[in-house]
């Protein structure tokens, strides 16, 4: 499977793939859509390991590598269980892949990577990149990223993506050889376009605004949630003190001793239960974070639209001004200001030959200009069409995923309540024996 490097990896037809991981609701969405790599190949980020080595400036550094495993889908369903192909990648390589995709598919809402540094932490959670919990959550996030790309209608068939999954050595060089970095739009250029564009597509303007709002509200939610988690941790842990004091108190009491002692154990259990509860909530936070970063990807597409539209407008404007110049030259009237025009007025008219030459040049420029405008217009239309398709796809995915996330949050809360009911009922029984 790993050596069929055909350009079109097309699997037509519906394969009934049911997700096996209850945690990863995404797989539901992803597998349902049309052509995608995921239908042919199982992809996972199985492990993480620490490595030390010399970096670019020849200093020792410690970093983490992630094991990417791939296996053809058919093999698994046939009952045989071949060893998966695997290779190790580090986070910076994922970043490189994503940057390549961003530049190469500007009309796609490119799936985001898990965060580079831990943010929105609450006190128990470590902000250290080397912390095993952080590494584990990052592993899951990276797998998520690969699965999302592999199920994207456009991105999944990309060769560079494929070799990222299958060719350990030389991949970096291959990416650089594509010259994608040169195609990247400079920040300044993009910013300029945002300010100066006159007629962006309304839908994209709205989408961009939506992206801003989404980012703002999810950030706020993550912050508030982290603070609440911190406090909840405190509440549960203080109950552990009940356990200690009940135990000490039971030592001086005769009839009450047993009841107190056993109640104390339940208080300890209650205090300990918060660790699992909050770990589950971190999954929920990670789901929110994914869409926080997706908002950025969405806005990037909208900005690209502004850029293409702006460039079209610039070309059109340029054409119009050239046409006007031609008109003026032909009729002799000067409506547009030009230094040449002023100087010729001051210092004498041009010769007819000069005028002829100028006219000819303008004609050529106008021809070229019209070609450019046609080109840019086509580009713009093409972009709008493709981008809007992907945006619609993204919207559906987002609505589905976030709804699932809210449902799983509710399930978590229910589970937490059930645990609480159990503990306090147990405690009550013990108290009755006091």
């Amino acid at each position: 499977m790993a050596d069929s490097g055909s350009e079109e990896i097309a699997v037509i037809g519906n394969t009934d793939l049911t997700p096996s991981e209850s945690e990863n609701n995404l797989k539901n969405t992803m597998v349902e859509k049309g052509t995608s790599l995921l239908k042919m190949m199982e992809i996972s980020v199985a492990e993480a390991e620490k490595r030390t080595g010399k970096n670019a400036v020849n200093m020792q550094e410690t970093y983490t590598v992630y094991l990417i495993e791939t296996r053809p889908v058919d093999a698994a369903s046939e009952g045989t269980n071949p060893v998966p192909d695997s290779l190790w990648r580090r986070y910076s390589e994922f970043e490189l892949l994503r940057n390549y995709l961003l530049v190469t598919y500007p009309f796609s809402v490119v799936p985001p990577l898990p965060e580079k540094r831990a943010e929105f932490v609450w006190h128990k959670l470590s902000a250290d990149n080397m912390d095993p919990d952080f590494v584990e959550r990052r592993r899951v996030g990276l797998e998520n990223f690969l699965l999302r790309v592999a199920s994207h209608p456009d991105l999944s068939s990309d060769k560079i993506f494929y070799s990222f999954l299958t060719e350990e050595n030389g991949w970096k060089e291959t990416v650089f050889e594509t010259g994608f970095q040169a195609k990247a739009d400079s920040r300044l250029k993009a910013l300029n376009a945002t300010f100066r564009v006159k007629n962006p597509d309304k839908r994209f303007a709205e989408m961009k605004h939506y992206g801003d709002e989404l980012q703002s509200v999810i950030s706020q939610l993550l912050r508030v949630r982290a603070r609440a988690a911190d406090r909840l941790y405190g509440v549960y842990k203080v109950h552990g003190n009940y356990g200690r004091v009940f135990s000490e108190w039971s030592a001086i009491e005769k009839e009450m001793g047993d009841g107190l002692q056993s109640a104390g154990h339940h208080m300890d259990a209650y205090a300990a239960s918060v660790d699992d509860i909050l770990e589950e909530e971190e999954h929920y936070a990670d789901q929110l974070k994914e869409y926080l970063f997706y908002a950025d990807a969405l806005r990037a597409v909208c900005r690209k639209h502004e850029l293409t539209q702006y460039e079209l407008e610039m070309a059109a404007q340029d054409l119009t001004s050239k046409k006007q110049q031609r008109e003026e030259l032909a009729t002799g009237t000067i409506r547009t200001f030009s230094l040449k025009g002023m100087t010729s007025k001051l210092f004498g008219q041009e010769t007819p030959e000069q005028r002829e030459a100028k006219l000819k040049m303008l004609e050529t420029q106008i021809e070229e200009g019209e070609e450019l405008v046609k080109e840019r217009n086509a580009e713009c239309e093409e972009f709008v069409k493709s981008a809007w398709v992907d945006i619609e796809r993204f919207k559906e995915q987002k609505d589905h995923d976030l709804r699932e996330a809210l449902i799983s949050y509710a399930i978590m809360q229910i589970s937490m309540c059930k645990k609480g009911i159990q503990v306090w009922n147990n405690a009550k029984e013990c108290f009755s024996k006091m």
Binding site: N28, V217, V224, A228, E248, W249, R403, I407, W424, F431
Partner: protein
């Protein structure tokens, strides 16, 4: 039988007012008593059947705080209502108004009359740290509840409830009460008692029986544990309140988000509502802790202090007896008078010891009942809290399921 005993004891209290006794801290013993306290103690048994609610024949409530302003001070009075079928009361219903000072007076009288019995504590005299105004609503309500408990504990106590002072407290008009208060042992005799008490305390007890040492150790340990529980509970309340503050911001954030969404608007609004409901439940739960568990724990912190005080007083009575024993052994003059005093002191000691032992056992039972029911109550409240939150989230899940079915998005799972 208890009636007979309580009548005898009332006799004691009247004798107290004669100031003809000289004792260390005003024990109610009187030389003119016919029966020896030892024989009476044998009759001082607790018959638990007589104590249950069905045979309760006196009901006291404390409510309706009112503020009074005079030129010199502002103070609060509380309405004290009594309903009783006891024959020693002239009527079956009484309503009087009492201020905190009056409660203090009653407590003092009971302690004077029965130095080695355990009087339930009163709420503290002065405000706790952190409170600005002495008369804010919460403080008054907390105090009212504690005063109510105090009187009920007195009413439930087999000895105290027959106290004449208690009866006067419940029934006398304010003028009558004031004049009754003045009848107590005079200032000088009280000073004399205090001096003797200090002397006894300084002398210290020599041969304290092991059982009282055990009680002392228990009182120390109990005091520590109950104080810890009080502190832990207060900390829980603080943490819960801080959690609540953060949680209060979650709902509105979900609501804000729903405004940017279309398909997601409804579930987000729903979640916002759920979070807000959980906030309300959390608020109620904290309030319950504050209003129920904390006051009980606090009462027993004060009780622990009472236990230690009672043991000290018993020690002083013993020290007094030991002192008099020594005096008899060494002095030559006045032997008859001294022997007389020694006998009195011995009887007083026996009385005190037995009273303490019996009341100690009683107190332990009451403590156990009170704390057990307070903790059970708290556990039940917590269960109820989680049940309510559970219902909130389950209704959300339900709404999402029916929603999915309505839109025809059901996966055949």
């Amino acid at each position: 039988m208890l009636r007979l005993l309580s009548q005898q004891l009332r006799l004691n209290e009247r004798d107290l007012h004669d100031t003809s006794t000289t004792q260390t801290d005003g024990s109610s013993f009187n030389a003119s008593m016919q029966t020896s306290p030892a024989s009476m103690i044998n009759q001082y048994k607790f018959e638990e059947e007589e104590e249950d609610a069905d045979t309760k024949d006196i009901f006291v409530t404390v409510d309706n705080p009112e503020s009074h302003v005079t030129a010199i001070e502002t103070y609060i009075t509380y309405r004290v209502e009594t309903k009783t079928t006891r024959s020693e009361f002239d009527s079956s219903e009484f309503e009087v108004r009492r201020r905190y000072q009056d409660f203090l007076w009653l407590k003092g009288r009971l302690e004077e009359a029965h130095p080695t019995l355990i009087v339930h504590p009163l709420p503290e005299k002065f405000v706790m740290k952190g409170m600005v105004e002495r008369f804010n609503e919460d403080f008054i309500e907390t105090r009212r509840r504690a005063l109510h408990k105090f009187l009920n504990k007195i009413a439930e106590h087999p000895i105290f409830s027959s106290s004449e002072d208690f009866k006067i407290f419940l029934t006398a008009g304010s003028g009558e009460l004031t004049s009754h208060k003045k009848q107590g042992p005079g200032f000088l005799s009280r000073m004399g008692e205090t001096v003797k008490a200090v002397a006894a305390a300084v002398r210290g007890v020599r041969n304290r029986p092991q059982e009282f040492t055990d009680m002392q150790e228990y009182a120390e340990a109990f005091s520590q544990k109950i104080s810890s529980l009080d502190k832990v509970t207060q900390r829980i309340v603080r943490e819960q309140k801080e959690y609540l503050e953060e949680l209060k911001e979650c709902g509105p954030t979900y609501a804000l988000w729903s405004q940017s969404e279309q398909e997601l608007a409804e579930p987000l609004k729903n979640v916002a509502g759920c979070v807000d409901n959980c906030c309300k439940e959390t608020e109620e739960q904290v309030k319950h802790l504050n209003d129920h568990l904390i006051p009980v724990l606090h009462e027993y912190v004060l009780c622990a202090d009472t236990l230690k005080a009672v043991l000290r007083r018993r020690d002083n009575i013993q020290a007094d007896f030991e002192g008099k024993t020594e005096a008899l052994a060494t002095k030559k003059a006045d032997r008859d008078a001294m022997r007389d005093e020694l006998d009195k002191a011995e009887d007083r000691l026996e009385w005190a010891n037995n009273a303490l032992k019996t009341d100690w056992t009683r107190w332990q039972k009451v403590m156990r009942t009170d704390l057990r029911s307070a903790f059970i109550d708290t556990a039940e409240r917590n269960v109820s809290y989680y049940e309510k939150c559970l219902a909130v989230w389950e209704s959300f899940l339900q709404s999402q399921r029916t929603d999915a079915e309505g839109n025809g998005n059901v996966d055949s799972s």
